[in-house]
């Protein structure tokens, strides 16, 4: 009987995910050299007492729980609470912790879009990303094209994402080269007055917080 070893595993998936993306083929596919290495390394680390299977599973559960929804909650709160926004801009990690989101070592810098400035985040040297807030980065964020072009022709890059930044707005690129990680605080769209936190968070997508999009009303 092939491949059922992970059957009781909480991470065993079938078909498409809730986000509508395909899972990369896994258990039923021919074992690759790198998967062989992952299994061997994991087993050695467990046998030597460096980690445990439970610790590894707990880490996966923890990372799976991190998603752009957490960032959207932070943004929605900042839109509704000027004092929170001020604290968020001064110390992003402390402010996310206020909302019960554990920074877990993340040093978050929040950069605010205004009438005159549009922010966009990139990492030209690897793919630094506020993972402990937003979860794992999308594939395109790690691509050669995004990493190469965003610091030189951000407007062309944003246009590819469907965002035209007006000439009188300064584009401010953030290259995450060291210890900080960046989150864009988008502008609150007109027409959202009186919305509750959930509704506000609902229009804040991952791409808005990277800076390649702006919130759209439904």
């Amino acid at each position: 009987m092939p491949h059922d070893h992970d059957h009781d595993d909480p991470f065993h998936h079938e078909g498409m995910s809730s986000s509508g993306h395909p899972y990369r083929p896994d258990n039923d596919q021919p074992l690759t050299y790198w998967q062989q290495m992952e299994i061997a390394v994991r087993e050695l680390l467990v046998e030597k007492g460096i980690t445990t299977a439970a610790e590894i599973n707990a880490q996966i559960v923890l990372m799976d729980a991190r998603s752009p929804a957490q960032g959207a909650a932070v943004v929605a709160r900042a839109w509704d609470d000027p004092a929170f926004k001020a604290r968020l801009l001064a110390d992003g990690s402390a402010a996310m912790a206020e909302l019960g989101i554990d920074p877990d070592g993340l040093k978050l810098v929040v950069v605010e879009n205004t009438a005159g400035v549009h922010n966009v985040v990139v990492c030209t040297l690897c793919s630094c990303y506020p993972r402990n807030l937003l979860g794992l980065p999308p594939d395109w964020y790690k691509s050669r094209a995004y990493r190469s072009r965003t610091v030189k022709e951000p407007r062309a890059v944003l246009r590819e994402f469907g965002l035209e930044v007006p000439e009188d707005v300064r584009v401010q690129v953030h290259d995450s080269t060291a210890d900080m990680r960046y989150l864009v605080l988008p502008r609150r769209p007109e027409g959202t007055e009186g919305w509750d936190a959930e509704a506000l968070a609902g229009i804040v997508t991952r791409d808005c917080m990277i800076g390649v999009a702006i919130p759209q009303l439904p």
Binding site: H3, H21, V41, E43, I50, T51, Q59, D139, W140, S148
Partner: protein, 116 residues
Amino acid sequence: MTDDTGQGRSWHDMGGEDAGEIARGEHDFALWEKRVDALMRLTSAKGYFTVDGLRRAIEDMGEDAFETMSYYERWIASITRNLVESGAFSTEELNARMEKVAARGPTYGEAQGAGE
């Protein structure tokens, strides 16, 4: 000013290079990829190496690896190298275990050890 021939520039340092359109396809991560990610976070938190060690070994793998290997393939290669460097296990132990893993069966599921 650094000379413009690019001498001394590493392949991974790509800010400002010409590049094509951004491919926007996305995928969710497979279990084995999530495990690699978890192993990185656990072993670095326990002091075996740092995120800079992870990056350094990936940089040293060269541009071909960037073009031909997936993200988490590069990660497990780098994690393994760093763990050997810091003495978590030896290459001899790793080699023996990889052979044992492959002997269990031809798929990722079958190659898991007891207790999975």
